[in-house]
Each structure stands twice: as C-alpha cells, then as structure tokens.
Symmetry: C2
Subunit: 143 residues, 2 copies
DNA sequence: TTTAAAACGGACAGGATAATCCGAATAAGA
DNA sequence: TCTTATTCGGATTATCCTGTCCGTTTTAAA
C-alpha cells in the first residue's frame, strides 16, 4: 500500500519536483530522472507524458531532448498534479469506503475525518513547485 | 483507489463499528453484516476472522452463531484495527513514496506532511468503538 | 546524410489485492 | 438423532495497478 496516492502519482510528484529542482539545466531526460530517483524509466516516462498532454510540462524529442516545466512554477500546485493523475477520490471518498457517505448523509466518522481531508487539500494547494527550485543565489554545478 | 486504507481495512472498520452499534443483540452473523453494509459475505467473514485471531472480537460457530466484540469497546481504538490489518505503513511511509525519506533525512515535503500524519494518527487513536454504540437511553427495536 | 539519443505508443507480463467457491467443522434446536 | 445455520480453511479466480518490451518517430550533432 502507498500512503495516500497511487504509485503513478507519487512518481509524478517526484518527477515534477525533480524538474523544478533542475530547471536551470533545461531539458532533463527520463533516463536521468529514473536513475536519480531509482525508479523505472518507462514508467516515469509514461507518467510525465500524461502531464505533457495537459500542458503542465513540455517535452522535446530527439538528441538533447527531455522534459521541462511548461508553466510558471509558481502556478503549479501539488494538488493540481495529484488531481490530474489520481483525480478527486482521495478528497471526496469516505475514509471507511462507505459509498453512501457524503456531507449531507455523513457516516459515523465523517465529521472526524473532514478536517484532516481539508488540511491535506490546503497543504497541497498552497504548495507550489516553485518552492522546490534551488535558491537563485546558490551556486549550481553542472553534472 | 481507496483513500488511506486497504479495502480489507475499510471493511474491518465498518464491520467492527457494526458490531459496536449492534452490541446488545449479541452474535451478529457475517451474512447480516454483509447484507447491511452491501459487501461480500466471504470477504468480510475472512476479515473478521483475522480480528478473532488477535482476540479483538469473538466468534461462535453453528446455529445462532456469529461475531461479537471480545473486549471492552472503550479499549478498542480505530488505530488498533488499522494497524492489525494494514500495519504501520500509512503512518511511516513517505507521502511521495521516497524510500530514503525519514525524519533524519527528510524529503522536500516531509515537514509539511508530518503534522497531517500526526493528526490522523491522533484522531484514530483517540476514537474508540464505544463512541459508536447506541446511547443507553435510546429505544432499540428488534429486527 | 548518417548516426545517436531521445520521446512516443501500443501491447503485453507480473504481482498484489480483492473476491469467490466449496467442503469441513461445529453447534443449536426440533 | 437429524437438520439447519453458522464459522473456518484452503484453493482458486478476477481485477486493477504496476512495470516491461519493442518498434516508431523525431531531432541534434557529427
């Protein structure tokens, strides 16, 4: 079991954060990301392709190609990444899995879970990938 | 995807809460639980059997048999149920799935996730199944 | 123009979890 | 004692998610 997100979503978060952290280096190949993060190249590649489709990141084929952020890092929240990959389930579904449970017909645990759900959503929506870029004054070494 | 727990764990929570809610009726059959909760009888049965093994609930075979709480409802926390079924992963693992992430070598998101993790654990450990028993003054109708 | 490096796309394999099936053991009540 | 209702246990099947494979397309550089 993962904690809260699917594996694919975990990789998407790791991958986009990696792109933010290495933004000044331009295109980053799936191979480099996969090697550095210790995950499957094919899988992270497919996952990032999904983010390319919705315009969050860019890709370039061919030699010297790779992935890079397509938008202002300030505008990309972690919540957006999660919702693209996993959808809204983690924030909408009942924590006990009861299909009838909603705010208008809450399960026995609903009121206790609600603040946690909201806190998680608030954290993810207030965190942008810009917060993971290296600071501008920091010296960056080439690989 | 489930929210935070495995299906099996969700069913365990639902099942034990059902036993608490119907405690004064004695043995409750897996068939009744499954029908009322709209889930698989075989699956909830196996799941509850696991809780019998660790002494949290009791079972009785044969006619008029079924399941019931084996301990004081005040002593059974939701966290205990979760840990029996799903273990500690949801409270220990990195929310982004990074295997190296621990409090001593935290990932970029660690400090932001930590309070949520702790809040969830606090909620689950402070909630006992006794809180789901029908109030003593409430009139209970037989089925 | 050739070569190498990269994303892309589709199909397929593997594994874990979820769910089902069925027979055996057990116990209550007629 | 017989029948019925129940848990128990093992085996099997189904499903979804994860991961792999491989050929195609694209592009930069030699």
């Amino acid at each position: 079991m993962t904690v809260l997100f699917s594996r694919k979503c975990e990789y998407a978060l790791q991958g986009v954060l990696y792109l933010a952290q290495n933004r000044q280096r331009g295109n980053i190949s799936a191979e480099e990301i996969a090697t550095d993060l210790g995950i499957s190249q094919d899988f992270i590649s497919k996952t990032l392709q999904g983010l390319v489709k919705v315009g969050m990141i860019q890709s370039n084929r061919g030699k010297m190609g790779g992935f890079s952020l397509a938008r202002d890092p300030e505008s990309i929240t972690l919540l957006e990444i999660v919702k693209i990959i996993d959808g809204n389930e983690a924030f909408e579904n009942c924590v006990m899995g009861l299909p009838q449970c909603h705010s208008d017909s809450p399960c026995a645990l609903h009121s206790k879970w609600q603040p946690l759900r909201e806190a998680a959503q608030a954290m993810l929506s207030s965190t942008t990938v810009a917060q993971f870029e290296p600071s501008k004054t920091e010296v960056i070494f080439d690989r």
